[in-house]
């Protein structure tokens, strides 16, 4: 089968050979130009890709560097907190010695001039201790290791104690200092931290006010259904006030109102930052308002819980009862403490009582002395060479169980102990804890609390915040 032939195209217009050759050469040249351009483009593209890759690598490296720097900074900050904590601890130990010995010195006959000097030593030591405690608090807060107490206390009394502490200073400056307490009663919470917050606000108000008033209002809300109460502490003054530019820095640690403040008034600039963190940990906040030149008002809020008022205890009664008890029943105490100064402090604190104190330098000797002398009570330092207080306690408790001996009360003497550590002491068989620097009243309270109840009077264990472990014998 054949198709009809297609129509013939017009005869092609002829082109001269020379023209044809020219066109072809021109085309070939254009093609090789195109090739060269393509190659060039490829090379440039490769270079761009390498450059992009290098840039990305640079970004990755830079990011890794930053990451490393951040980790390093965090590690450094953690190390700083640990260092601050241990350094404060290291300073506190000798300071305890100074303060303890100074207190003991107060029990010896002194001339009036010597008493004045002693008062200065104790004041200065207390001040140093409070700065140290501030630094320690802050490093604990920053490390997230701060633990609040939860004990019943008299709110009005806590506020009044702050008032008493600052009344003299206010009077010296000729300030009209007034404290009003509204709706207060017994509450549960952390009384020491609360006093610390209020104390810093009041001390600031007095410090930065030259004339006029400092007013404190403590206002406790009625309890809600769950027994929760909101405490509002308002501290207002007619002092120099705080400029807008400083307001932003007010709660930043170590930030004072310029270097002149430290020169003129002292202080470290930690007070407000710690106070605010405490308030926040206690479910509230701390805020400030001020009109420069007219005064400032600080408002702290914290959440507390209502508590039952305990039966009345008279001040000094514990020590008197203790002395009374010793007259009826002799007491021998074994104390394990490696630090010579602390040994002297302990002796000094107990000197006025008619009892026997044997002091040994470590846990191992303590266990031996316990076997040999059968003391009525042991005061046990926690950190000691050769055998520490925890190991010694465990050894004694084991020996008691094996020999079916009656249990000897053991009180931990801890430096800077936290709640979970105290729980650990109790778990290994200790009966109580006294935190250094040791105050006589606290020591006696703890001793009374762990001793078997004397037949006639039973006072000590009525106190709700004393550690009382019921035991036989």
């Amino acid at each position: 089968m054949t198709d009809p032939a297609p129509p013939r195209p017009d005869p092609a217009p002829t082109v001269s050979r020379a023209r044809y050759d020219r066109e072809r050469r021109a085309r070939q040249e254009a093609e090789s130009l195109l090739e060269a351009k393509s190659r060039e483009l490829y090379v440039v593209n490769q270079r761009l890709m390498r450059q992009a890759e290098a840039l990305e690598q640079a970004v990755r490296d830079r990011t890794a560097d930053l990451e490393a720097a951040r980790a390093q900074a965090e590690a450094a900050s953690a190390a700083k907190s640990v260092f601050l904590a241990s350094m404060s601890h290291e300073i506190r130990t000798p300071l305890n010695g100074v303060l303890g010995m100074a207190a003991a010195l107060g029990d010896t006959p002194l001339s009036v001039a010597q008493r004045d000097m002693l008062a200065v030593i104790i004041d200065s030591g207390d001040m140093l201790l409070s700065v140290l405690n501030d630094i320690l608090d802050l490093s604990k807060i920053e490390a997230g290791r701060f633990e609040l107490e939860d004990v019943p206390f008299d709110l009005a009394e806590a506020v009044r104690s702050v008032e008493r502490m600052h009344a003299l200073k206010a009077e010296e400056k000729g300030l009209d200092f007034g404290v009003q307490v509204r709706g207060a009663g017994w509450v549960r919470g952390d009384p020491n931290r609360l006093r610390q917050v209020l104390g810093n606000l009041v001390s600031n108000a007095i410090k930065f006010t030259e004339r006029g008033l400092v007013r404190v209002l403590a206002d406790l809300s009625p309890p809600d259904a769950a027994g929760g109460v909101l405490l509002r502490l308002v501290v207002a003054d007619t002092g120099q006030g705080i400029g807008d530019d400083r307001m932003a820095q007010l709660f930043t640690p170590y930030a004072q109102g310029g270097p002149a403040v430290a020169r003129q008034y002292g202080g470290t600039g930690l007070g407000l930052s710690i106070a605010r963190q405490f308030c926040r940990m206690m479910g509230g906040d701390l805020t400030a308002e001020s009109r420069p030149g007219f005064g400032s008002t600080f408002t702290a809020t914290v959440r507390l819980a209502v508590a039952e008022a305990p039966p009345l205890a008279q001040p000094g009664a514990v020590e008197r009862d203790f002395a009374e008890r010793l007259r009826r029943q002799p007491l021998s105490i074994l104390a394990a403490e490696d630090n010579g100064t602390n040994q002297l402090v302990l002796k000094g604190l107990l000197r006025r009582f008619d009892l026997r104190v044997d002091i040994v330098p470590n846990g191992r000797v303590a266990v031996e002395a316990w076997h040999r002398d059968r003391p009525d009570l042991i005061l046990m330092d926690v950190q000691m060479p050769l055998m520490n207080g925890i190991e010694a306690t465990q050894a004694i408790r084991r020996a008691e169980a094996e020999a079916r001996r009656p249990r000897t009360p053991i009180i931990a003497l801890s430096a800077n102990a936290m709640r979970h550590q105290i729980e650990e002491y109790l778990a290994v068989g200790m009966d109580g804890n006294v935190t250094k620097p040791i105050r006589r009243a606290e020591l006696i309270e703890a001793i009374v609390a762990v001793l078997p109840r004397p037949a006639p009077a039973a006072r000590a264990c009525d106190r709700p915040d004393a550690v009382c472990t019921p035991r036989a014998g």
Partner: protein
């Protein structure tokens, strides 16, 4: 010199004189390329001058006149290939003003190694402009043709005065363009 100029010159010649004449002229000239040009190549400027000279003798039109016509031709080619440059300019004066900073910038993107003449402009009145052309190549007449064609394109009557300021191996032509009669 960019091959496009050669290709366009030959195109114009073919249109005016026919392919056979152009082939003849090319055969008679002494050209490094043998007369084979493409738009993306680069060729010596002297060959362009040789070609212009050859066509001029062939048709008996003086070289300057031929260059000028070629300027008109080239302008038409620009309008056709790159209309975008023209649509956003209201008149010829703004077109002249945009050559250096707009048109040449685009040309350099395509041909980084291109050698371009310089066009300086100066407004001397609202409707008047001084355009100075500078080039290492003797193409002032070609430029003149371009200027005229551009004015024609915008359809505005205008007066063009030209002053030759060439010297030191450089062609310099100063055009004073006044719009309106």
């Amino acid at each position: 010199m960019k091959g496009m100029v050669f290709v366009e010159l030959l195109q114009m010649a073919e249109e005016l004189l026919g392919e056979d004449v152009v082939d003849d002229v090319l055969d008679r000239c002494d050209l490094s390329t043998g007369g084979a040009y493409n738009a993306v190549g680069n060729y010596p400027c002297s060959e362009l001058m040789t070609l212009v000279q050859a066509f001029s003798s062939h048709v008996g039109t003086p070289v300057p006149e031929l260059q000028r016509r070629f300027g008109h031709w080239m302008h038409a080619r620009f309008v056709k290939s790159y209309p975008g440059f023209f649509t956003d300019k209201p008149d010829a004066l703004s077109m002249f003003e945009s050559i250096e900073d707009e048109v040449h910038v685009e040309v350099r993107k395509l041909y980084p190694d291109v050698e371009l003449p310089r066009f300086e402009t100066e407004r001397i009145a609202d409707q008047a402009l001084r355009l100075t052309y500078r080039s290492s190549r003797p193409l002032s007449d070609f430029c003149h043709g371009l200027v005229e064609a551009c004015l024609d394109h915008y359809g505005q009557p205008a007066q063009v005065a030209r002053r030759d300021l060439s010297g030191g191996g450089e062609s310099v032509a100063e055009f004073t363009v006044r719009l309106g009669g």
